[in-house]
Assembly symmetry: C2
Homo-oligomer: 409 residues x 2
């Protein structure tokens, strides 16, 4: 619902505009800030002065580029120490935990593997709390001001957003993950769906994508997808999907989730191996496929082995029909494939494209461009980092009140 605008709203909006411009462009002089935001020099002076006074921004050293003529510009930048945030990336077999400062620099990071039954022993929330405690103790100087904790997860969230009602990570279902962490550290704590972050982060890594709508597909031990669709006049509307568990064939292959015919059951690592080795597709999938086993199959297929090639064709067909079904609802112009399965793209390309050709939308609008980005962890981290910092910018720092002006006594 649209709401009333007053002077306070104007302050928030323009402070937020300055912060988001710095977030995207990095440090800028006041003059360039005025140009980039569209605000007048006078307003920039006022706003930046206030933000510096509140220790949200800092002034850099005046630096005259070679052969400069006039007064050297002074850049303003984020004050690293304004606050800190913790970013947790929870994966099926790994957990990474990063302490970052307000400028986005990683201060410290820990990473450990997860046993398959990890969370039958320790509650996920307690596990995360312990990880964060460790980071705090290793970084005493920064420990005081963790203002945000963001956790990347896979699965389906409940309406509160604090609990996973379903997750491919074992023993996570129904456990409140965010609430205990939030309570323990007294900082806003949020769960973020990995697929959505992947799409947003990919946009950050490929600036040439600009404002086009994109879908990012992860192919590995699961199949996941996120969307980043620019809305008119706003931030891109981003969404995670349960693409991996979209039905491909009614009453089809058994999926890890217990359902039949999911895309994942054909295109995730376990699905491809099952097909390749002729295991009946109603046999319950292995709990974990070693990365080496999957890679070996990719290599076999690349040397032309029939059964391996066939398995990747089946996988490509499932993904292709899934994309064609997606395209009837959303219209990403670019699709980015990532994860271990991205290295098998050449093996799946023809069956993906064949499936897309069988859809009306592709025939009419032309097929979307398909790109491959092998590493999936960096876009996820970058997406989450940007998400966290921009939220802090807008919700905390843009809204801080100014010193009340002294009334003339």
């Amino acid at each position: 619902m649209r709401s009333v605008a007053d002077a306070d709203f104007v302050r928030r909006q323009n402070r937020g505009l300055v912060l988001s411009t710095l977030r995207r462009h990095g440090p800028l002089s006041r003059t360039r800030l005025a140009g980039a935001t569209g605000l007048s020099h006078a307003s920039i002076t006022g706003i930046s002065g206030e933000l510096i006074g509140q220790s949200i921004l800092v002034e850099g050293e005046p630096q005259a580029p070679a052969g400069a003529r006039g007064r050297p510009p002074v850049e303003v930048a984020f004050n690293r120490h304004a606050c800190y945030a913790v970013i947790v990336e929870l994966d099926v077999n790994r957990a990474r935990c990063s302490l970052v400062d307000y400028a986005g620099t990683i201060v410290d990071r820990t990473e450990i593997s997860l046993a398959p039954n990890q969370f039958s022993q320790v509650k996920p929330a307690d596990f995360i709390i312990e990880r964060i405690e460790q980071l705090r103790q290793r970084n005493v100087a920064e420990q005081t001001s963790i203002r945000s904790i963001a956790i990347s997860v896979q699965g389906i969230l409940d309406p509160t957003g604090d609990t996973l009602t379903w997750s491919p990570i074992a023993h996570m279902n129904g456990q409140s993950v965010a609430a205990p962490v939030r309570e323990r550290f007294g900082a806003p704590t949020t769960l973020h769906k990995r697929g959505r972050l992947l799409a947003q982060g990919t946009r950050l890594l490929y600036p040439e994508l600009g404002e086009t709508p994109i879908a990012a597909v992860f192919i590995g031990s699961t199949v996941a997808m996120g969307l980043s669709i620019p809305a008119r006049g706003g931030h891109p509307e981003a969404g995670a999907t349960e693409f991996g568990h979209m039905n491909h064939l009614p009453d089809g292959a058994l999926c890890r989730c217990g359902m039949k015919g999911c895309i994942e059951a054909y295109a995730a690592d376990y699905g491809v191996l099952r097909t390749a080795y002729g295991v009946p597709d109603r046999v319950p999938p292995a709990a974990l496929v070693p990365a080496a086993a999957y890679q070996e199959l990719v290599n076999l297929a690349k040397t032309g082995r029939r059964n391996a090639l066939h398995a990747f064709n089946i996988a490509g067909r499932a993904i292709g029909f899934g994309l064609s079904r997606l395209l009837t609802i959303a219209s990403p112009s670019h699709i980015i494939l990532t994860g271990p399965g991205a290295s098998a793209y050449e093996l799946m390309q023809s069956s993906i494209e064949a499936a897309l050709r069988e859809s009306l939308v592709c025939k009419v609008n032309g097929p979307p461009a398909i790109m491959v980005h092998h590493d999936e962890r960096e876009p996820i981290f970058q997406g989450l980092l940007m998400d966290v910092l921009e939220t802090l910018d807008q919700t905390v720092f843009a809204t801080m009140a100014s010193e009340p002006r002294l009334s003339r006594a």
Copy 2:
């Protein structure tokens, strides 16, 4: 991209807020307007005074309800004559054209049937121009100020939004529809996808749906769907889909669009008849199914005829799997079925629900509520009417400048 806020922006925002509140609630006194908008009484006085001065709003007669104690409130309302708009509903076999005033009242309306080959004779744009001309000549007093023309269509729009790149209406493909009309009448002219309007209009007709995300499905000579998903802090993000041409079964039944396996090929009227009468599903579909023929099949099925029941089961299965696939991407909590096929809902219900049960998302989140609304034309018209008027409110009338204040000479 977020943009700078200044006094002008505040004016637009708050004028827009007043107009949108009146649009939703109908005429209101200034005091109630203040309560509903959150603006102060003083601001409401100023804004409404200015809007009245610009002949956008009018004051009603003071009316004291029975037993009222104080000064009777005087309502402000839209000035009917502030401007007019034309709403065109283009269907496969009918065209309806309505002249409406700024308060949303229908001033005049024409409706004619379309021959199947109508647009091989006359260009669609010329046809529409002629229809609008007729309305203008019948309503001379109002003819001067048509400020917006909105056309409801089915199909896939090109990026300009002026042309249908594909449409179930014959001979429409590739013809610029909006541009010639816009040029002829000098008024903003826009094409709107019928599915999206259906979803938005349904929300208007069922206020109890509130802010829940909904999907509206049309089942008839085509299968179409629109989404209305409330975004955080804004208008519901609405989208049309090509649901009817989402693939149901790879290499399946032949669809009117020329592709194989579309949902429509199983669930549109021609698909159901084809199945019921045992016609091979690769036989090209009939160009038009008489409404009576479809209704007769519905009646036969309700009396228990095997082949008819079977056909509706197949149709329900296609729709159910389509919905289950949709649910992996968007999460409408309510699904509204409309169109002629809605009267066959009881025949399809069990197979729709069976298909939904086979999906992970439904198992985890529970199945969406499915509602039936038999009439589809009213929600489409209401959705389009509201869309047009709100656009006029915000883009034209909220942005009109105020009289410049005299400077003291």
